[in-house]
């Protein structure tokens, strides 16, 4: 067991740290709208041009082929430098890496990594949220292409995305899970309409997406027909990893900022103890993530254990933002510190997005504790 960098990791850390010193965006992320999308695109491009994206991806698809632990170092250093969170290309890319055909990987992965093409994940529907297998969007074969009809919702980044990894029903006679396939959908076509949703913090990260006879060539089916459920579960397995979605970089930055704030003379002892509680929680998450990533380096894809990590990550995020709000006192309630308010409100989604905490606990109960299934 060793939690310390080996010489190669230490060199990487030092190089990335000095790169960050001269490449951080000079301004904070705008709170919403196209400016926000542009800000993320620039940050993503800048990281990519520096050679820092896709660290643990295979070299042949534009990655650097490094162990997963480098992604954790990457996240830590961004957080320590106070940079914007790491772009989350990891989890969608994993679906293509694990299940995509060779031509699909070569065509799509490099541009996903570089930020040249933006992707979104078309999973949830109005009547298929936690019960994802209830989805009813259909892809019907007509000649050499599919016609897609249906609606997706909570689709992050769809307003500026180029491609969508879509779950659709390709076989209505098959079982609930067996009739689902994963398709790569070009969002720049007449059959696709995207309507942004205004969120509690005023931001519009996620959207509704409507498909009306949208066209998908048959060579854009990922994996085999009917393999969509397995692909979706693998994807959300990665989406639940706080490193894969860049969350650990956010926590590392926030806990450091709060440490500065909690040192000020007017902060009372109770608030300082609450900060310490959050500091401890971040340390626990970090130790746990390193254990997770080490298991992954032995070749295991994220399994049901990922739900434990996600629940720990959610506890951490929500505790951190309670502390942030409390340390900022009245300011975010009266127009000061809109960033603190916005991030706090956003943190309530941690226990909902990527599978609710209730769903995560059901996975833990049934698959790790082996309690009898409830249905």
């Amino acid at each position: 067991m060793d939690y310390r960098d080996d010489p190669a990791e230490a060199t990487f850390r030092a190089e990335f740290r000095s790169w960050l010193a001269t490449h951080l965006p000079g301004v904070p992320a705008p709170l919403g709208g196209p400016e926000r999308a542009g800000f993320w695109r620039d940050w993503h491009r800048s990281l990519y041009d520096g050679g820092w994206m896709g660290l643990s991806w295979p070299v042949e698809y534009g990655g650097r082929g490094l162990p997963a632990m480098y992604e954790a170092i990457f996240n830590e250093e961004i957080g320590a430098a106070g940079g914007p969170p790491a772009p989350h290309v990891g989890f969608l890319g994993r679906a293509l890496l694990h299940f995509g055909h060779e031509e699909q990987r070569r065509r799509f992965l490099p541009a996903l990594l570089s930020g040249e093409e933006v992707w979104c994940q078309g999973f949830s529907e109005p009547d298929a949220g936690s019960d994802l297998a209830a989805l009813s969007t259909r892809a019907t074969l007509a000649g050499h292409q599919y016609a897609v009809n249906g609606q997706k919702v909570w689709t992050s980044d769809a307003a500026w995305a180029d491609w969508c990894l879509l779950l659709a029903r390709t076989d209505s006679s098959a079982s609930r899970h067996g009739g689902i396939s994963a398709l790569i959908v070009d969002l720049h076509q007449p059959g696709v309409e995207v309507r942004p949703i205004v969120q509690v913090n005023g931001d519009s990260e996620f959207n509704e997406v409507f498909f009306t006879d949208a066209v998908v060539p048959t060579d854009q089916v990922v994996g085999a027909l009917g393999q969509g459920w397995e692909i979706a579960m693998t994807t959300v397995g990665y989406e639940r990893g706080p490193v894969d979605v860049g969350f650990t970089s956010r926590y590392a930055r926030l806990v450091g900022e709060l440490e500065q704030a909690a040192r000020q003379g007017d902060v009372d002892g109770t608030q300082q103890l609450e900060w310490a509680r959050a500091y401890v929680q971040v340390a626990v998450l970090r130790a746990h993530v390193m254990r997770d990533l080490s298991a992954r380096s032995e070749g295991k894809a994220p399994g049901p254990e990922g739900s434990i990590t996600k629940l720990l990550s959610t506890r951490t995020e929500q505790l951190l933002h309670h502390v942030a709000m409390d340390l900022a006192a009245a300011a975010p309630l009266a127009g000061g510190r809109p960033d603190v308010l916005s991030d706090y409100l956003y943190s309530r989604g941690a226990s909902i997005a990527g599978g609710t905490s209730e769903v995560q606990r059901t996975i833990v109960a049934e698959r790790l504790l082996r309690l009898p299934r409830w249905r």
């Binding site: 103890l273 506890r315 606990r361």
Partner: protein, 340 residues
């Protein structure tokens, strides 16, 4: 390479400890001849050399992969998982003090030969002391305490009414002898090790409590189905597993830090671990009682034995309030003073 996991040897060590515990009746089995069983288990642990795990081997001090604290933590976790009354934790803690103050004294040999050891804390249970209360004081145990930088033996007096049924608390008074001085660095390192090993005891205690409750939830039928199929019960149990795995992750880190980092850094990491484990352990053990239902309120049910053990571990050398206070002092108050 950065890598966080157990080696094959460490997995085998944990398995061996688990098997040894399983081969002897423990308090988790309820209503058994626990004391005699503990004596048998203790003798076989001594015979296997498990007591000396934390004694560093001076002959090859640069061997990497030497993780005595983590190894001891793995054994302690298994003992706690069975609420075992074997005085292993107390002995390891006493041995740590002796090794740092009087490494060549007869006391070390006595303990390695099988005499149990225990350490003395003040009446708050949160600080090492020369007189006060001896913790995990098994029959004939050698009590070791500290005053200033001097390590003392202590004379054991009357037994106290310990809430923990697996580890006796005994009055410890004057009458011992001074064994030697401990350097400030060694004292800090001992403190870090003790906190990490108490965390390991909490990991095992919580894991054992949860396993028992989950086994009950699988078997117990109500409304014509196992109560473990109800989401209310499932969600409660799942939350506890998240806490247990968090405890395990931070405890491994703290145990590793004792042997890999400078003493003050190791102590800072151990305080983080003890703050977290102390905080969640009570909740996990109380949840186990809840899952057991009415049975959980009975003396026969093992659930309260886990809770009792957790409550003592939580308090020993400082509960979460003490640890969080130390973190605040270190990172906020002292840092602000230095900056100011």
């Amino acid at each position: 390479v950065t890598w966080v996991g157990l080696t094959e040897e460490q997995r085998m060590l944990a398995d061996t400890a688990a098997r040894m515990v399983a081969d002897h009746p423990t308090l988790a089995d309820a209503q058994i001849e626990q004391r005699r069983a503990a004596g048998d288990l203790w003798r076989s642990m001594v015979a296997r050399g498990l007591v000396g795990l934390v004694v560093s081997d001076d002959s090859d001090d640069d061997s990497d992969g030497d993780e005595p604290t983590l190894n001891a933590a793995l054994v302690i976790e298994q003992l706690a998982r069975g609420v075992s009354a074997v005085p292993y934790l107390g002995t390891v803690l006493a041995l740590g003090l002796l090794g740092a103050s009087a490494p060549h004294g007869a006391e070390v040999d006595e303990i390695l030969a099988g005499r149990p050891g225990c350490v003395v804390v003040d009446p708050t249970l949160s600080r090492l002391a020369r007189r006060g209360i001896a913790v995990d004081a098994g029959p004939g145990a050698l009590a070791v305490g500290m005053e200033g930088h001097v390590v003392w033996t202590a004379e054991l007096g009357p037994r106290l009414d310990s809430l923990d049924l697996s580890r006796p608390l005994v009055t410890a008074g004057d009458g011992g002898t001074a064994l030697g001085e401990i350097s400030p660095e060694a004292g800090v390192r001992w403190q870090a090790q003790a906190l990490a090993l108490l965390c390991a005891d909490l990991v095992g205690t919580c894991a054992g409590a949860l396993e028992g409750a989950v086994a009950h939830a699988r078997a117990r039928q109500q409304f014509g189905r196992p109560i473990g199929s109800f989401q209310a019960v499932q969600q409660l149990c799942a939350d506890q597993l998240v806490s247990v795995e968090g405890c395990r992750s931070i405890t491994w880190h703290a145990a590793w830090a004792v042997d890999a980092l400078a003493p003050d850094q190791a102590l800072a990491q151990a305080q983080i671990a003890k703050a977290f484990c102390s905080d969640v352990a009570r909740t996990v053990c109380e949840a186990a009682i809840q899952v057991w239902g009415g049975l959980g309120m009975t003396w026969e049910c093992p659930a309260h034995r886990y809770l009792r053990r957790a409550l003592l571990d939580r308090q020993l050398l400082g509960d979460e309030r003490v640890q969080l206070g130390a973190i605040v002092q270190d990172r906020l108050v002292a840092a602000a003073t230095k900056a100011g």
